[in-house]
Amino acid sequence: MSRLARAAGLFVATLLVACAGPKETIVLLPNAAGQETAVTVTQGERQVVLSQPYAGARLSRSGAEAFPSNVQQVQTQYGAALAAQPLPPAQFTLFFVEGKDEFTDESKRVVDTVFAEIAKRPVVDVIVIGHTDTVGNDALNDALSRQRADVVRAAFAARGLAADKVVTIGRGKRELAVPTGDGVAEPRNRRVEILVR
């Protein structure tokens, strides 16, 4: 057994490792909202579909191999990545008095919940989208919807949320929450949607 043979052996071992290539693993997680979900894994011509919670696929040069994973395995391998997951965006709706940029008494209480959500986040960005019902023309409703969004921004600013954290948008009567004909005073359409991220 010469040095050469040993060197050759080492070379073969290295080649084998190189052939194994990067090892990749994919695991589908259960969906918090309980909807049906799936991930397709496409490698060249081949495709594997993961559609059950904790279904996994391991990929190497030699192809994809399905395997069942579990909570513990995922925690061990992906704990740090999962721990860094941002809070999911939270959505709220404030309702408004007909024809006005004043929100209803009930909605004033929602503002407290919005601020509880804001307080949870080290860095927050908020999107405020104003809407109207279908009473009146587009110009009027576009203006009113923007006004409603601005009022919400001002109310937030009064409670200490910097205005530059808030983007306001007015959609007029284009995106009804409850579909109605034109000229209908539907309270559920007079709203501002707030997204806290």
């Binding site: 894994v41 040069r61 080290p122």
Partner: protein, 151 residues
């Protein structure tokens, strides 16, 4: 040949125009770093920025974490991506219309670990979001999943 040439030229022009169009849309402000710990950096146009909480991300940004690092980002479409230690994640392409939820999102994990919760783009169209690894393309159908790439 005589008919080929103008056609090909036309195609080249079209692609050039399309890419100009894309550059135009290409998106400053595709997302934001919401969580960061340990060593995190963002490569942008040949520069390396510290990956601090609050940093606004752009398309083409590459996020890197060190041996003690992890980072979590929220994209404009509400997708959540978070990477563990020793990871390289590029945000290759991101377009999003907040009114219609139409758009396209392609991310690439070159190394490390990644957790994904897909957002409005994938919900609107199951073909519109992919995560690439060195050897595969993952198609996302409204989903939470984890990926790892070991070297």
């Amino acid at each position: 040949m005589t008919t080929m040439l103008p056609r090909r030229l036309g195609r080249v022009l079209f692609v050039a125009a399309a890419s100009l169009g894309l550059c135009h849309v290409a998106q400053a402000d595709v997302g934001q770093i919401k969580v960061a710990s340990g060593q995190v950096s963002v490569e942008r146009k040949g520069q390396s920025l510290p990956g601090r909480v609050g940093l606004v991300l752009e398309a083409d940004d590459v996020l890197r974490t060190g041996a003690d690092g992890s980072v979590g980002i929220t994209m404009r479409d509400n997708s959540l991506l978070s990477a563990g230690p020793n990871s390289i994640l590029s945000l290759e392409h991101f377009e999003f219309d907040p009114t219609t939820s139409d758009g396209r999102f392609d991310a690439r994990l070159r190394r490390g670990t990644l957790a994904v919760v897909s957002g409005r783009i994938a919900k609107k169209s199951p073909q519109a979001m992919t995560v690439r690894t060195p050897s595969a393309v993952l198609g996302v159908r409204g989903t939470e999943f984890v990926v790892s790439v070991d070297e």
